[in-house]
Symmetry: C2
Subunit: 274 residues, 2 copies
């Protein structure tokens, strides 16, 4: 076995880009243990010197070179890290120069630009989407449904709420979500409120074995959580979605990131920033 490697994520902002980049790379090495250290807001030469000290300490302690994933955009700050005994994966160094050459302009080298400030219109739209989505979680409100970008439907605990929140927070998409309940199936009809917005509906389905597991944690030994009832509800929901021609997705083995990306691709929804 190889030794544990210490990985530093050094950024002048929140560190989101550095960590996203780093996790993508590290996930390609399965048999190596990484110790991860986050160093956000490294936005001055002085703070960069503190980083160098911590990286040097790790070098001594580990007995092997640390890995540094860097998204420092200010050249004077980035320069402080050069020459230390570590492998530096410098994101801007690798990509800004070719991009500047292609675009024929110099980049601004402004720090903390990656994710839009709190004052951008994009950010305001995201926060509005979060408020909308919370106000329309679990069918609590039918008002303003026409303002939603998508309405998620599915049986209780099929993954609607976390998916809704992720779509709103990350992409500024206004999501309403609506549980399909036994009463809907007994009436054998989709709720009236939903029929009006058919074109915006998207279904989430789930394997009965997984659903019973999730529901057991909530209400152990209830009819609600029983495998038999889960099977029946899921069958009924799928039948309803098929009959009404509603696109749907099985959430059983998918993360909310995967569900969101698939949903946006399927119904052609774009993030607010685009």
């Amino acid at each position: 076995m190889t030794a544990t490697r210490t990985v530093f994520f050094v950024s002048d902002g929140t560190g989101i880009t550095a960590e996203t980049l780093g996790h993508s790379l590290l996930s390609q090495f399965e048999n190596i243990r990484f110790k991860q250290v986050r160093m956000p807001f490294t936005d001055s030469v002085e703070k960069a010197r503190d980083c160098v000290q911590r990286i040097t300490e790790a070098r001594l302690k580990d007995g092997i070179r640390p890995i540094v994933v860097s998204t420092l955009v200010e050249p004077a700050v980035a320069a402080v890290l050069r020459g230390i005994d570590a492998i530096i994966l410098d994101f801007f160094e690798a990509f800004l120069a070719p991009l500047e050459a292609e675009l024929g302009v110099k980049s601004t080298h402004l720090m903390g630009r990656s994710h839009g400030g709190a004052d951008s219109s994009n950010y305001a739209a995201r926060m509005e989407a979060v408020n909308f989505t919370l106000a329309h979680d679990d069918g609590v409100s039918n008002t303003d449904l026409e303002k939603s970008d998508v309405i998620l439907i599915g049986v209780s605990r099929s993954g609607k709420t976390p998916t809704s929140l992720y779509l709103a927070l990350q992409f500024g998409i206004r999501v309403a979500n609506y549980p399909l309940i036994p009463e809907d199936f007994e009436r054998n009809r989709m709720p009236e409120t939903l029929s009006q917005h058919r074109h915006k509906l998207f279904g989430l389905t789930i394997a009965a074995e997984r659903l019973t597991q999730i529901r057991q944690e909530r209400r152990p030994n209830s009819t609600y959580a029983s495998l038999e009832n889960c099977r029946w509800e899921i069958e009924q929901a799928q039948k309803m979605m098929r009959r009404e021609g509603i696109r749907s997705l099985d959430s059983t083995t998918k993360s909310i990131e995967e569900i969101a990306a698939t949903l946006m691709q399927t119904i052609k929804l774009e993030p607010v920033s685009f």
Copy 2:
């Protein structure tokens, strides 16, 4: 002015990494208009050929080379894009080889690994944190407060809820949030429930001018939203936080990403994946 450039985000997974990296780079070029096209789930040679076609069409239509941000990890799929008339920023090509050399092992080149599958323990912890956080939003429940990682406090509409959801969704941090209300200030004492968990408290504060704006949208012309009342509540809340020694942060001009990163750094909270 330069022409609009079309940017393709090509990924074999959700596209989160490609988009995060791409946005970081593009945000460094302020005066150029970018048209962005997302191409997630490009996980076969056939789908890569579809990409090539769309990129070629954009090349013809724009009259200028498109920019392609690629996080294709499978060499056979990535190879399909090579040689097209576009600038390709190939993220794995740039960083995997030096990392393999440093670590002395080959990477797995497995697709869709970046963000952990729905079956990872990290993912389960994140979903659990979302459930916890929703159940402890806006002081609705005092049960299990000892299971929280942090308790956000602040006056109504100071940014507690979106911050809480972001921390839970993104980092798997269990957040409770608790509004400080006029009754608390009149009693001149922190709610008993909170005093017990003093070490976990973190305050959000906000400029009165911004708060009145936000509250006016909710309840126009109310005392609740008036500048005078907002000023008073904020002053009282800050006085209480100072007196009790609670660390706090001004959310006025900060995004939830910045608030979250600052909070985690200040109170030394680590994401569940670390």
